[in-house]
Symmetry: C2
C-alpha cells in the first residue's frame, strides 16, 4: 500500500503540526446517544425482561436465564486448550505480582499534638467487569480487570460478556474468570449489560463501578450511567487505541514495523505513529511495513488503520521527545540508543515500552502491567488502570480534647471569616463545656 | 421549630427505610443544562470577550482584564486581618503535613526474570482550581485545593473565582493562594470560569483537570466539559453536603446538636442525619438543637435544612452501624462509647470524625484532612480528594532479550487465541531475528 508521506516537523507550520498529532475524529454520535438512552431506560424499568429482549435482538439468541451456573463455568472452562491455559496461567502470575505490589499503605500521622489524621483504603464492594464479545474472545481483558479486583479484595465481581448466537461463552473467558475468583458471570453484552450492572436487575447485582472496554454503544452507556446519581462510576473515558513509536536509526526496522502493525490490526480507527529523527530510516520502516502487512490475517483492517498512520521526522532526538510528550500516547514504544534515558524524559503516556525487546504485545498480555490505558490524549490527565481504581480512599480524624484546643482558634477564625457561625459554635461549645467542668 | 419525628428503624418497612436514607431530590436541571451548554460554547468560540460579557451579566461588574497582576495579589493579600492570617497559617501547615504524607512511591519489580515493570507517578501539569464566591470568601477551599496541587508539584495552578460587584477578590482568598504558590488568579466565576479553564482563552490557560465546588451552574459545567474530549477532567461528581452523626446515650447532646447544625447552615438542601440506639436521648438532642438554632446568624437556612433532617432510632449499636454504612455519608461523626472501635466497622464515608472532640468543622478547616469529599452517596464509589488526584500514574516495562523469550509463548498463544496475529508477530519476529543472529 501507499503509506502516508513522512512529515518533516521542523518545516511544518503550527496547523500542520496540529493535524499531524490530531486524533481521528469521533463519529457524530447523536443516534448512538439516543439509542443507548432508550436501552438504559428499558433495562432500568423492565430489568431482565428487557435484557433478554435486547439480547435476542442484538446477539441473535433467546436466553432463558442470564447467569451461568457454577458447574457450567467449571465445565466449559475445562475445555480451554492446554496451551492457552498455560499462557493464561503465566499472564495471571505476572499481572498478579505487579498489581499486588501496588497495594496501598494506610497513612496515620499527627498533624500536630492531639490531632490524628488517617487516610485509609477499602476495596470497592461490588465491581462490574465488562468483557466485549465479537470475532474472538478476550481472556486477557478478563485478567486485567479480574486480577485487579481480586487483589483489591472486592466482595463481588460481576462479569458481563455477550453470548454467541448459540448462547455460549468462550472457554478461555471462563478459565481466566475462574483464576480471578469470579463466580458471577452473566451472558449479556452491549449497552444493556452496562445498564444491568449500573441499575441492577432481578438477576444482575447493582455494582459500584464498571470497568472495561467496548464498542461505541458500551462506551456511550458507560458515560451515561456515570452521569446518573443512581448509576455507577466508570473506569475512564474511552477512545480508539493508539501507539507512538519513538525510534532512531539504531532501532531494528522489522521490530518497529511489527509494533506499528500490531496496533493497526486492532481496528480501522487505530492510530499508529512513528516519530524518528532520520528520514531515510523512516522510509525503510515503511518498506518493512508493506512486507509484513501482506502476511497478516487482519490485513484489510490494518491497511485501513495504516492509511491514517503518521510518520514524523524530527531534526533531532530532543525534538522527537517533545513531539512524543505533546501527543500523550496510550502506548509509547521507545526504540533508541539509551532508551531508558529517553524514557525518563517522557511523562505523558499510558504505558511505556522501553528497548528493542519490549513490544506492545508484551504489555497487552503478559508482562504484568495493565492493558486498560487512557487513549485519545487522556494520558495527559488520566492514569493507567491500577489497583487503586478498585479501591476507595477515605480519611479519619481523631482529635483529643487538647488537640481541639490547639486548633480551635484557627477553626473559629476561619469559620467566622466564611460567615459560618454554627461551624465556630461546634468548637466553642466544646471548649465552654470543658471550662465548666474544670 | 418542630423537628421531624424519630424514625424507628426496626419497625420501618423497606420503603420507609429507603425514604429515611434518601437524598434530597435534585431539581430537574434541563434549563440549567441548556443555559450552561450555551455559556460553554460562547466561551469556546469567543474566549475572553464572552467571559467579560457573562461576568457583567452575572457578577454585575465590567472588567477590562481577567488576570490579577502579581503586585495586586501581594497588595490585597497583605490586608488580610491578622487573626485570619494566623488561622490560615496553622491550617496550611496541617493540610500540608497530611498531604505530604500521601506522596506516592514509585513501584519497580521484576514480575519474572528480565521483565521489569514499573509504576511511576507524575504531577498533572496544569490544574484549574475553582473557588466559589457568594456571601463570604472561602479561603479554606483555596487551601484544600492549593496545598494539594503544591505538594503534588503541578507546574501551573490556575485559580478562578468570581469578582465582587466592585471587581475585587477577597484578601483572604489571595493570602491563602499566595501560601500555596498560586500566581495565576483570574476574576471569573460560574460556568464561564469552568469553560475558560477547560478550553483556554486568550488570558486563561487550558488546564488538564478542574477541581472545586460550586453552584448548580458550576457543577453542570464541570460535568459537561468532563464529557468532551477537548474539555478537561474533573475531581468528582457533586451533590448537596451532608452529615451523619452516629451517637449513643454516652454522647454530649450539645456537641451532637452543634454538629448537626453546622452542617445545616451550609445550605437549605444540606442533609443532617442522627442515628442513635436510644429514642429518649434522641429527643433530648432535638431540644438542644432548638436551643442552639435560635442563636445562629444563618438560622433561616439551617431551619430549612433541619426540616429535611432525619432522626433514626435503632434497636442497638450494630444496627446503627449498618444504617451508617448504607447511607455512605460525606461526613460521618461518631460519638459513642468506644468510638474508635465503631469507626473501624464503618467504611462507606468520605471523612470520619471520631470521638467527642472531633467536630466536622475541624476537618472543614484545620485538622489537615481535605474537605472536598464525595457527597450524595458517592462515598460508596469515589474517594475523598487527596494528593493522588493531582497526579497521574503510568506504567513502564523494560524487557530483556531473555525476558521476552520467557514470556513469549504466553504472548503468542494469547494473541492467537484472540485472533491477533500481528500481536504474535511482534514477538516472533524478535525471536527469529535472534535465532538468525546466533
Amino acid at each position: 500500500m501507499k503509506l502516508p508521506s513522512p512529515i518533516f516537523w521542523q518545516k511544518s507550520s503550527a496547523s500542520e503540526r496540529e493535524n499531524a498529532l490530531a486524533r481521528p475524529a469521533l463519529a457524530d454520535s447523536a443516534s448512538v446517544k439516543k439509542a443507548v438512552s432508550l436501552i438504559l431506560s428499558e433495562v432500568r424499568s423492565e430489568g431482565d425482561v428487557a435484557i433478554c429482549r435486547l439480547t435476542e435482538k442484538f446477539d441473535q439468541v433467546r436466553l432463558t436465564h442470564l447467569k451461568l451456573e457454577q458447574n457450567q463455568i467449571t465445565e466449559i472452562a475445562s475445555t480451554t486448550p492446554a496451551n492457552v491455559k498455560t499462557a493464561i496461567d503465566l499472564a495471571y502470575d505476572n499481572i498478579h505480582r505487579f498489581h499486588a505490589a501496588q497495594f496501598p499503605k494506610d497513612i496515620k500521622i499527627e498533624t500536630q499534638p492531639g490531632v490524628l489524621c488517617e487516610q485509609k483504603h477499602s476495596a470497592l464492594e461490588k465491581v462490574g467487569l465488562y468483557i466485549p464479545g465479537g470475532t474472538a474472545p478476550l481472556p486477557s481483558t478478563v485478567l486485567m480487570l479480574g486480577v485487579s479486583a481480586q487483589v483489591a479484595g472486592c466482595d463481588r465481581k460481576i462479569l458481563c460478556t455477550p453470548p454467541s448466537s448459540e448462547g455460549r461463552i468462550a472457554a478461555e473467558i471462563l478459565y481466566a474468570a475462574q483464576k480471578c475468583g469470579i463466580t458471577e458471570v452473566f451472558m449479556c453484552g452491549g449497552a444493556q449489560a452496562i445498564a444491568g450492572m449500573a441499575y441492577g436487575t432481578q438477576s444482575i447485582p447493582k455494582v459500584d463501578k464498571i470497568f472495561g472496554p467496548g464498542n461505541s454503544f458500551v462506551t456511550e452507556a458507560k458515560q451515561q450511567v456515570s452521569q446518573q446519581a443512581f448509576g455507577a462510576a466508570i473506569d475512564m473515558p474511552a477512545g480508539p487505541s493508539e501507539v507512538l513509536v519513538l525510534a532512531d536509526k539504531h532501532a531494528n526496522q522489522a521490530f518497529v514495523a511489527a509494533d506499528l502493525l500490531s496496533q493497526a490490526e486492532h481496528g480501522s480507527d487505530s492510530q499508529a505513529i512513528l516519530v524518528c529523527d532520520d528520514g531515510e530510516w523512516t522510509l525503510s520502516v515503511q518498506a518493512e511495513i508493506n512486507k509484513q502487512l501482506a502476511m497478516l490475517n487482519r490485513k484489510s483492517i490494518a491497511e485501513k488503520a495504516m492509511n491514517n498512520s503518521r510518520f514524523i521526522v524530527t531534526d533531532d532526538i530532543e525534538q522527537a521527545i517533545d513531539v512524543t510528550n505533546l501527543y500523550a500516547a496510550e502506548h509509547l514504544i521507545i526504540q533508541t540508543k539509551d532508551a531508558e534515558h529517553i524514557g525518563n524524559k517522557v511523562k505523558n503516556a499510558g504505558s511505556i515500552f522501553v528497548g528493542p525487546y519490549s513490544p506492545e504485545s508484551a504489555g497487552d498480555y503478559a508482562s504484568g502491567t495493565n492493558h486498560v490505558l487512557p487513549t485519545y490524549g487522556f494520558a495527559r490527565n488520566y492514569s493507567s488502570l491500577g489497583l487503586l481504581d478498585f479501591m476507595r480512599r477515605y480519611t479519619v480524624q481523631t482529635i483529643s480534647q487538647q488537640g481541639l484546643v490547639n486548633i480551635s482558634s484557627a477553626i473559629v477564625n476561619l469559620a467566622m471569616a466564611e460567615g459560618l457561625d454554627a461551624h465556630a459554635n461546634a468548637v466553642s461549645i466544646r471548649l465552654k463545656q470543658d471550662a465548666n467542668n474544670v
